[in-house]
Structure formats: C-alpha cells, structure tokens
Symmetry: C2
Subunit: 105 residues, 2 copies
C-alpha cells in the first residue's frame, strides 16, 4: 500500500509561493538533490543537510505545499520527487534556471 500527500494542482501553482519555497539554502539543496528526476527516499545518506529532522520536515512541507515536490508514502518511507514537468508547464524555464546553478561556489 502507498498513499500520497495532498498537493496543489498544476493550474493552482502560485508563483510567489514557489519562489518563496525555493528561496532558502536548505530547500535549494533539496531541490538540487531531486534535480535528477528520480524519487529520493528521505532518511538515506544523501539527505544530510545539517539540520534536525524536525526542521527538515518543515522544509519538505513548504516545498510540498507550494507544489514544488511530490511525496509518496510507502510504509515508513517517504519518497520525494520534484514536480519538474508541472513546474515547467506552468512557469517555463524557471526550474531549469534554478538547477543550472549547480556549478559554482
């Protein structure tokens, strides 16, 4: 069995909410991790961003409620995915621009 979290429909995505969700270092790191298009399971090695789990939970909620991510619950595991196609359909270029920032310090 697997459930899903409620998340706004593509047409309901609000630009301000999306931008606010992206405008944080931790959340930006999460988005970059999800940039490969795969669903990533929380609680794995690659999820260590230097914050407590309650804080991470908070960040993931913001991303989800803004419609940036998708969450599928499978038992104790939460699989997070970037809603790249939806974002691209709604705000063409935006996510590409965000992810293009990989190579700098």
């Amino acid at each position: 069995m697997s459930t899903e979290y409620p998340t706004p429909a593509t047409a309901e995505l609000q630009l301000v909410d999306v931008l606010r969700a992206l405008a944080d270092p931790v959340r930006l790191d999460v988005v970059r991790l999800l940039g490969d298009g795969m669903a990533h399971c929380k609680g794995r090695e690659d999820w260590n961003f230097g914050v407590q789990k309650s804080t991470m939970s908070h960040h993931l909620r913001i991303l989800r409620e803004a419609g940036v991510t998708d969450v599928t619950i499978d038992g104790r595991d939460h699989w997070i995915r970037l809603r790249r196609e939806d974002l691209e359909a709604r705000f063409p270029g935006l996510i590409t621009g965000v992810l293009s920032d990989r190579a700098e310090g």
Copy 2:
C-alpha cells in the same frame, strides 16, 4: 550627468538572493513592469503599487542589491531596468519563467 548605483557583477549573482528578491508580491509586480526591457522612471503613473514611497524604496533596494535590477540616476530621476541578459546568462530560463506568469489571476 548621470551616476549609477553599485550592483553585483554577473558572476557574483547568488541564486538564493535573487530568489528571495523575487519572492514578494510587490517586487514581483515591479519585475513584471520592467519585463518589457525598457528603463522605467520611478515616480511615474505606472509605479503605483499600493505602498508608501519609503516601502517602495526598500523593495527597489533589495532588487538592486540582489542584482535583479539596474539603477541609473539622472538628476532627481531614477531609471530602473531589469538585468535580463545578466540573469539569463547566469541562470538560464529563470527570468523567462517568472515573466511567463503574466496571464493568470
């Protein structure tokens, strides 16, 4: 005579700062106004966004310091311009995605 405000170089643009600058309704409206590529003079009719002038000054400072806009001072007039090419060079697609949101409520 005309001076300019200091503004970060293209290579120094920080994604988080740019996103934070864009993640506000008033500033988003400003960016949309500047979306035509022209330099707009503050204090004209089209600059009425329902906030006091000190608040608007604050918002314009944030946009400028993040590198989203350019300001040229000519006497008492301040001409604001969107740094579209620079942003496009640094984060390809981002600004296009933001400006593509024109047509919705």
